[in-house]
């Protein structure tokens, strides 16, 4: 389809958009220091709001998905409500939706870095995002509820989602395996997990954030808040020249030109480069206020 707008190709990213693009990797690196702080081992009793394996030797918080699956596995024995987990996720979700996915998640950052390899990217249909809810309900809640602490493939004390999680393979399995190889004890990580890790790294080169878009149960959960979170993106019709820079910049394949606060968005704010989409906070009187100065 030919673009009917003559100035479409000439439209350049706004200063705010350029600034956000420059700053985002540094913010992600800064958060890496929070999630990977070795001094924070005592914080393992508190679930984080990002996808990050608590078996990583340097992890400081507990993985919310691992904690949720453990609570589900505990249900046949004793009924416990995860107040802390629900509170953290509700607070983070209501405040920013999936903003933490785009700006704070270490696993998302790894995928962003892998996506920088100049290879032609594959576009995914929007419906693949619903797989995240299948993973959330099936692997994180139902399967541990049925199997208890046995995972797939059956084993003791291993939750299914942890058994299959590429973040666990990358952040915990890989360091442990490297240590074991250096000590001359061979490769201890299971073939299944090694295969999952290799597939994940391979696919992250060709698909932007494959884990976040297809499988991440935490991203799926936080994205549900995108429709009413305090921080959100607002469309300004007066600024729109139909150049479609917003949609062209979106690495997640969201149809930003139609609707932006949807479940497929990780709030990387790349779309705000056109100037017609503005990051803002909802306020009680005035409808919303710009979140960032221009």
């Amino acid at each position: 389809m030919e673009c009917p707008v003559p100035e479409c190709k000439q439209r350049q990213p706004t200063e705010l958009g350029r600034k956000l693009k420059r700053v985002r990797p540094w913010v992600q690196t800064g958060f890496l220091g929070v999630w990977l702080a070795p001094v924070g081992q005592w914080l393992h009793g508190i679930p984080s709001c990002v996808f990050h394996c608590y078996s990583c030797p340097l992890s400081s918080f507990a993985c919310p998905i691992g904690v949720a699956a453990n609570y589900a596995a505990l249900l046949p024995v004793t009924m416990e409500i995860p107040y802390l987990l629900l509170g953290v996720l509700l607070l983070v979700g209501a405040a920013g939706g999936s903003l933490v996915c785009g700006w704070a998640c270490p696993f998302g950052f790894v995928q962003d870095l892998l996506a920088k390899v100049p290879v032609k990217k594959v576009a995914l249909p929007a419906w693949v995002g619903y797989t995240r809810y299948v993973v959330l309900v099936g692997l994180v809640i139902l399967l541990p509820l049925i199997l208890g602490f046995k995972g797939i493939p059956f084993g003791d004390q291993v939750i299914s989602i942890c058994r299959l999680c590429p973040a666990g393979a990358l952040e915990a399995g890989l360091p442990a395996s490297a240590q074991s190889v250096m000590a001359g004890h061979g490769w201890p990580m299971s073939w299944l997990k090694t295969l999952i890790l290799a597939t994940f790294i391979g696919s992250a080169l060709f698909i932007h954030r494959p884990w976040c878009r297809i499988f991440c149960p935490l991203g799926g959960l936080l994205a549900l808040f995108n429709r009413f979170s305090l921080f959100h993106l607002r469309f300004k019709p007066s600024e729109c020249v139909e150049c479609n820079l917003c949609r062209s910049r979106c690495p997640m394949g969201v149809n930003v030109d139609k609707q932006v606060n949807v479940s497929g968005c990780v709030r990387c704010l790349e779309c705000s480069t056109c100037g017609a989409l503005e990051p803002c906070f909802a306020l009680p009187k005035d409808n919303s206020k710009p979140a960032l100065p221009k």
Binding site: S55, A94, R227, H232, C243, R247, N287, S288
Partner: protein
């Protein structure tokens, strides 16, 4: 960057997507209350040292393989050899051994990395 062509769309007719303050605020407030309650909450799960485990101790037990299940507490293996007396003693001891009153408990001192 490859520019995606614009489909026929009238910006004036598009939803502004401005969010209302109250739903987000109420949800965030509930989140704060739940977080506060969670930090102070004592679970029904016992600790090895006695007393109830707090929620943070329980989560820490998940991450450090610190959960102990009564169903997994195994009896000592039978004695080797053909000594019938030793076998009888072992069987009597097993019969007399009291079943644990707990189903699951938390070892707060556990430091084993999760077997992920």
């Amino acid at each position: 960057m490859q520019r995606v062509p614009q489909p026929p769309l009238n910006p004036a007719l598009r939803d502004l997507e401005g969010h209302d303050f109250w739903p987000g605020f109420v949800a965030a407030l509930i989140g704060i209350i739940l977080t506060f309650c969670g930090v102070r909450h004592l679970t029904a799960v016992d600790t090895v040292d006695g007393g109830n485990a707090s929620e943070t101790q329980l989560i820490k037990a998940f991450t450090f393989d610190g959960l102990q299940y009564a169903s997994k507490v195994s009896s000592p293996p039978p004695p080797r050899g053909d000594d019938p007396e030793a076998l009888e003693r072992w069987a009597r001891k097993n019969r007399e051994a009291e079943a644990p009153t707990w189903k699951v408990r938390v070892d707060t001192a556990a430091k084993t990395p999760c077997p992920t």
